[in-house]
Symmetry: C2
Subunit: 499 residues, 2 copies
Amino acid sequence: MLALPGKAALIGCGVIGAGWAARFLLSGIDVTLHDPDPEAPRRLDLLLERAERAWRRLTLAPVRLHGSFRFAANIEEAVADADWVQESVPEREDLKRATLAAIDAAAPPEAILASSTSGLLPSRLQEGLARPGRFLVAHPFNPVYLLPLVELLGGRRTDPAVLERAERILSALGMHPLRLHHEIDGFLADRLMEALWREALHLVNDDIATAEQIDRAIIYGPGLRWAIKGTFQVFRLGGGEAGMRHFLAQFGPALELPWSKLRAPELTPDLLEKIVAQSDAQAGGRSVRELEELRDDCLVSVLLALKQHGHGAGAELAAFEERLYALSHRRSLREEDDLDRPLRLHETRVQPEWVDYNGHMTESRYLQLFGDATDALLRYIGVDRAYVDAGYSYYTVETHIMHLREVASGEPLYLTTRLLAVDDKRVHLFHEMFRSRDELRLATAEQMLLHVDTRAGRACPAREDIAGRLRRIGEAHARLPPPDLAGRRVGEPRARRSA
Amino acid sequence: MLALPGKAALIGCGVIGAGWAARFLLSGIDVTLHDPDPEAPRRLDLLLERAERAWRRLTLAPVRLHGSFRFAANIEEAVADADWVQESVPEREDLKRATLAAIDAAAPPEAILASSTSGLLPSRLQEGLARPGRFLVAHPFNPVYLLPLVELLGGRRTDPAVLERAERILSALGMHPLRLHHEIDGFLADRLMEALWREALHLVNDDIATAEQIDRAIIYGPGLRWAIKGTFQVFRLGGGEAGMRHFLAQFGPALELPWSKLRAPELTPDLLEKIVAQSDAQAGGRSVRELEELRDDCLVSVLLALKQHGHGAGAELAAFEERLYALSHRRSLREEDDLDRPLRLHETRVQPEWVDYNGHMTESRYLQLFGDATDALLRYIGVDRAYVDAGYSYYTVETHIMHLREVASGEPLYLTTRLLAVDDKRVHLFHEMFRSRDELRLATAEQMLLHVDTRAGRACPAREDIAGRLRRIGEAHARLPPPDLAGRRVGEPRARRSA
């Protein structure tokens, strides 16, 4: 199939070169590095440790920096038996050209010679080389071990077959090679970033805003979208159902306004038609509604991702959740509540990320929902944040689940809960999960909870008001007929107990 | 505490106005809308449905579009009893000024009057108003119901107390109000976006790249970072341990290169020191290493978020995982395997997002890990993707878990598996989970799996080679002493069986 390079040589081992090392090692490719900085090996170790840590979180697939690596004393030794040489020295054309010439002279003739340059033209970089045909630009983005983008382009003398081979190799490394067909200073990504950066520098230079304000203006708004959609797709959706043509009709005139120090090209009818046609091609027949749903699904997941780390827009979300709870006055036990039936305290809907590749809710999500029903019960009996912060809580010590039916994404569900037995330390309960539209029973869970002093790490009696509420519910539920699927051992025939 | 507006009036109900409606309704604020377009009510319904769907996925807190909404026939009726009026009509200064004048004349005197303008100057918009003091700009971003950013600024005649009040209200709506202290066309976010957009339009106009290439140049690279870090923070990390000063030393000269059609300001010593000082202030004493770790943690979570939807960089990740599995040659049963002990087929590490606010692994993650161990067993006995694609699989029908110990984020774990009984349709097994560093047992799970014809939806015998491997393991495991925590009913005293 694909011949991955057996050995890569990396010339220059700063943030970018070390990032390339992680990419190659992750794919089992041996690496030889050269960098005149004596600090380079220490920095490489740090970066490889970080890359491995990140990848172990990214995937359940086995992650190992398989390949071996060593530092070579000079360029000649580093590249002597390499199949791929990646140059990542500082961004100065004279330095890059001298380095590339030295590599070209020493590397095996069939080795690919790639530069990490952020925007110098490949035709100029390859000028002095003896074998310019095997030279190309492969421009990655920091952190190279996590961001898949790599801009791939050749100069006038680059062999197209080498570009094809490089594209396949970069894909196999888990990267996204973006083939560019026209040389331009800064390529695509850096031109776009550079325009934004220069605008930002003007804002600081003119004392309009600070670095902190400018960064906030990105990460709480446009930046969240840019993780998902580029500017053309974002603006297509900004036009609503009428799409890009409508957007340009509405915001085209703003191109004449002083909304950036960069002058826009004139929005001629030709340019307008070109943009609309390219935007339509990009949408590939998907409606604005479909694109909006995908955007929203991704945005929700990105916001949840940031919430895990209490960062940026995710921190805002966490704060707002508290208000949502307050708005809906959390449900707690009242004197007049009817307890002559199982409690119905939790309902939800099967979310897309809960579903496996068969389209069914994943096994562990059943337990998550039973856990949510337990949390709802605890709130109902008065276990609130203050109680938990004071060092008391209920821990689940034992669970028995019966998976009865599969359930698909999007289905509304509800759960019921009954108490089988309570004492001052223990709650023995039985949850049932139903599909809302037809009350089909999907699963049951029998659980034992233990009241604990979380600081001492041992069981202790619950506060009297909480224990009292549990007793009141427990006494009422004791009058209900016994549940059919409680008290089972795994594998016990069902007929015996449900008869 | 905070007096939220009791009623909001929304004038203009396109993509932005309808997004505001969702924000207000989510916080229980009643809304009256006015839009001359007869299609507006239908589009609002669609958007509210989408917003509610998104928020139900965003949070387990109760989500309801609590407030009521209705359309008014004209501006006067819409704003008559409003506490907050939001103008979101098309981006034309004459139209906005006429609309604002009509609102100002009809709204109660203490109502806040906010414009959604993307970049028109508040001092100019407030010129003709009878009560300019209560006028301000609150510029949100599409989709308004998900992106928290709202740029907040007044004109020369805006009352500072009104801006304070608006800031508190917008925060309470779950938004991130970014206070701007200088009026400039396009404010901050739109200037930054506009510079990038104009650069992109030049690239299309000059036939250097297509809309699709330009969007890819964002979403596979810089866009992923912008969800997490703004440009100043990104570049600080681009400088490695030496930070912003080093970055500017290395890339400052690129400001002179034609890497954008926008000319940068001259990087004078004054500007350089200003940037370094603002960047240091932003970092707030956190080291480059800490910032890089936070960035990586967030990037990992964002990539996983996109993988859920098979989108962009997440799709690349999914493809690369297949290669990682191939690289590590998945483990399957071999003739020479020693079966005289429980199988040890799965190990992992507690990931940060598996942990609850107590710092312990969440209940449902235990079942996820037992499920992963079951998956490893199935691969080991030859249940591969081809077998599943052919319509056969094992489903879990029953699970009994004992939670024995808590476990913290970052801990390495391993799981062992033994077969208690097998026949041609059923596998009865027992998993144990251990903390790697001291072999402390954390939990056990007893499970019953059923072999199913997934298309027919009923049990059927497993293929003979798979059944044969199970028999071989089962016969060997039958010679091991019985496990202490299998065969239990929930609540059964432990001493009885572990004695």
